[in-house]
């Protein structure tokens, strides 16, 4: 068969498939060996956009605490294949069956004090549970906002916006490449979702209902107890300061700063359930910080935020100094104030 004939046949086949395919999620595209070239190929959204009109089986959700990503608005959706469900864990991310997809669209409005007004989608990241494990596929939206295209190397986009605090910002927004996705999502070399755990889902989400009960009712999740569910303290809520600070560090840092994470060799472990103060930085000396130390001796110098490496790095936007290393180009001023307040309130340690 000559090349052109083959092409013709393939095109014809594709055209037929497009005409005859029912609207909705295409499990075969999800489970294909290679990423689909376009986001619309998966059929997650009823129209060719990442808005609220979703296909059957795709459910919006959000998290109690989220990773700071230069103030980007985030729209999250979960898809679990029909007839299957994720299994509840009290402490870790749920076990999702093969064929599940976690969808996250990053978006900006011209003024993030009103994030729904004239919002523009920048990128949509798919975490797909293939039979060999989870993979991450980045899709970047076109200027017309009609389609997002598979972009394994990510990229940069200049975004002008006004922060929720009213500050005018020009952000050199970084869309991560596939490997950078892995840097945050790898645990003992296994690609692992970060967000959808009981602690982080257990509240009323964007669908206006309690998310764990909703997922259970819809068959997305099994095994969740009816009561006694754990909940993360909202980082900017009204619970005790230490709990809120630790909750913020958990979702913003602990994907790397944990045993088996990307920063495991630092010995600085920032998960909410870390039990030793040295582990989360109190009077811990830096290991591989280089100039990231800011000339300070300890990750946390209790009572002295201005002499704590943690504050220096959360407050920096300089590559090689800033933490997290990926995912932001601006300072999360609200979080910086929270962590500063937490360290300032710690009783000083005798040298």
């Amino acid at each position: 068969m000559s090349g052109s004939v083959r092409l013709l046949v393939v095109s014809l086949f594709l055209a037929l498939a497009a005409c005859s395919a029912p609207a909705g999620v295409k499990d075969s595209v999800i489970l294909a060996a290679d990423p689909a070239p376009k986001l619309s190929d998966y059929g997650f959204f009823a129209t060719a956009n990442a808005g609220a009109a979703v296909a059957d089986g795709v459910r919006p959700y959000d998290l109690v605490n989220a990773l700071f990503a230069d103030y980007a608005g985030k729209h999250r959706f979960v898809y679990v294949p029909k007839g299957q469900s994720a299994t509840y864990n009290p402490d870790t991310v749920f076990d999702f069956p093969v064929g599940s997809v976690l969808i996250k669209t990053f978006a900006f409005a011209p003024d993030m004090r009103d994030p729904a007004l004239n919002e523009r989608w920048i990128e949509t990241r798919l975490l797909i549970h293939k039979s060999e494990g989870w993979v991450a596929y980045p899709y970047v939206w076109n200027a017309e906002q009609t389609e997002a295209v598979y972009s394994p190397v990510g990229g940069r986009q200049i975004v002008k916006t006004i922060s929720p605090e009213g500050e005018a910002l020009t952000i050199n927004y970084a869309i991560p490449n596939r490997n950078q996705c892995k840097e945050c999502h790898s645990r003992n070399k296994v690609f692992t979702p970060i967000g959808p755990s009981a602690r982080n889902l257990n509240h009323v989400g964007p669908a206006g209902v309690q998310q764990i009960a909703d997922w259970t009712e819809r068959g997305i999740l099994t095994g969740a107890p009816a009561e006694g569910l754990p909940t993360a303290p909202p980082a900017f809520g009204d619970q005790p300061l230490e709990q809120r600070a630790r909750a913020w560090l958990d979702i913003n840092c602990a994907h790397c700063h944990r045993a088996g994470g990307g920063a495991s060799n630092s010995g600085l472990f920032l998960a909410w359930n870390e039990t030793t103060p040295t582990g989360w930085g109190v009077h811990k000396r830096p290991t591989a910080a280089g100039r990231g130390s800011g000339d300070f001796l300890f990750v946390i110098e209790p009572g002295k935020p201005d002499q704590s490496i943690m504050i220096h790095r959360i407050g920096s936007v300089e590559p090689g100094v800033m933490m997290p290393e990926l995912g932001r180009t601006t300072v999360d001023t609200r979080a910086l104030a929270l962590i500063r307040e937490w360290i300032a309130a710690m009783p000083p340690v005798a040298q």
Partner: protein, 410 residues
């Protein structure tokens, strides 16, 4: 000859027509899209692939990463292929490798904002004939580590040059089975450092113009502690005279400028057949971990060390850093080998064995500090060597990716 050529041509034609013939890999050339093009190749690589970077200067803004096993990243040569990260806009290192069986060779990386090349949990990795440099010379604002394998098994560093690192030029941490050889470390804070690692051979290297030449450390509060079994031999450790420029807070900021080999905590370290000259603090410095710590697993003492058969030139004539205040009391000069004499920590005293098997004229001092955390005012210096203990030397490190060169044709 003509027949052979003709045959080759026919073969080439035949394979060109075969639909299964993969396209010949083309070396990446400098271009506006080279950064993305290379990263795409690294993401889409298949095990066994060789990714080639051509001659020229590559000014990259976005750091590189590789997570596919058994891939070779190969430049046209360390004096032909230059990757500059002067304009780097994100991440913590120039190149991050997180897969096994990778070989990196034939390029120079310049001015990474953080570390140069990091490989983490990357077993059987080879760094061969490459350079990592900070072109502005030794500056506190340079990245911490030049080459930085960590949490890995079977690490080979061969023919690597690192210059300007604000921590260690060649650093291997929390790893096992390590060879660092035929390499050059200069104008770094630490030239070569083996930290919290076991079974390392560091040999036939040149460490010069660093603050400290070669370091073997063990530190508390890290996932892997208990470094042991390191051999340091046939190295040139000379003129380590760059003022320590590490940012304070980092452990290497405590390395006195002009230390040849510095050994801290650790067990079973053997230093032999090296050449030491013109290291102004001392040639061999043996120290306990001297800060307070709360890690129950950790032993801060250097123990079961052998220092033998080295060649010592001038040195110790101007001790620096924390040892400077001690020098006046002992004639203003430190001998070739200095041990802090710490044997007690957390109320426990150990029978520390430090075997110095050198000619009688090679100077030795035991500072007699006794307890860690140390108090320098408690020094009780003595020049008496300890008894000559028998301490078995670890066997030579053998790596699966390091096939020994055959003698034939050599």
């Amino acid at each position: 000859m003509r027949v052979i050529l003709a045959t080759v041509s026919v073969l080439a034609l035949v394979s060109a027509c075969s639909p299964a013939a993969p396209p010949k890999p083309v070396a990446l050339a400098p271009s506006a899209t080279a950064n993305d093009d290379l990263q795409k190749q690294l993401i889409e690589a298949k095990p066994g692939d060789v990714i080639e970077i051509g001659e020229g200067r590559f000014d990259f803004a976005t750091p590189l990463s590789l997570d596919v096993d058994n891939v070779t990243l190969k430049g046209a040569g360390q004096d032909k292929t230059f990757i500059s990260f002067k304009g780097q806009t994100g991440a913590g290192e120039g190149l991050l490798v997180t897969s096994d069986g990778v070989t990196l060779t034939g390029f120079t990386m310049e001015d990474a904002k953080g570390d140069g090349i990091k490989s983490k949990g990357a077993d059987n990795i080879t760094y061969k004939d490459l350079k990592v440099v900070w072109t502005g010379g030794p500056l506190t604002t340079n990245g911490a580590y030049g080459v930085y394998p960590v949490e890995s098994k079977n690490v080979l560093i061969d023919g690597v040059t690192v210059s300007g690192a604000s921590d260690a030029g060649i650093y291997v941490g929390q790893s096992e089975n390590i060879i660092v050889r035929n390499s050059r470390a200069e104008y770094n804070v630490a030239g070569i450092e083996i930290e919290n690692s076991s079974n390392a051979d560091v040999h036939d290297n040149v460490a010069t113009h660093n603050a400290g030449g070669i370091l073997v450390f063990d530190l508390p509060n890290l996932p892997k502690i208990g470094g042991h079994s390191t051999r340091i031999f046939n190295n040139q450790v000379v003129e380590n005279d760059t003022q320590n420029f590490a940012p304070p807070g980092n452990i290497v900021a405590n390395v006195p400028t002009g230390s040849g080999v510095m050994l801290m905590a650790n067990q079973n370290v053997h230093v032999f057949n090296n050449t030491f000259d013109k290291n102004q603090t001392t040639h061999v410095l043996i120290y306990g971990y001297s800060f307070a710590f709360d890690d129950e697993r950790y032993n801060p003492l250097p123990r079961d060390f052998v220092i033998r058969d080295n060649t010592y030139g001038d040195g110790g004539n101007s001790p620096q850093g924390r040892l400077a205040p001690l020098a006046p009391a002992i004639g203003g000069k430190l001998p070739a080998i200095v041990w802090d004499g710490v044997t007690t920590y957390h109320g426990k005293t150990e029978d520390v064995r430090i075997a110095v098997r050198e000619k009688p004229e090679v100077g030795f001092i035991n500072l007699g500090l006794g307890v860690t955390p140390i108090d320098l005012t408690k020094a009780k210096p003595s020049t008496k060597r300890l008894p000559d203990f028998e301490i078995a030397e670890p066997p030579a490190v053998v790596l699966p990716q390091d096939k020994p060169a055959t003698k034939e044709g050599a």
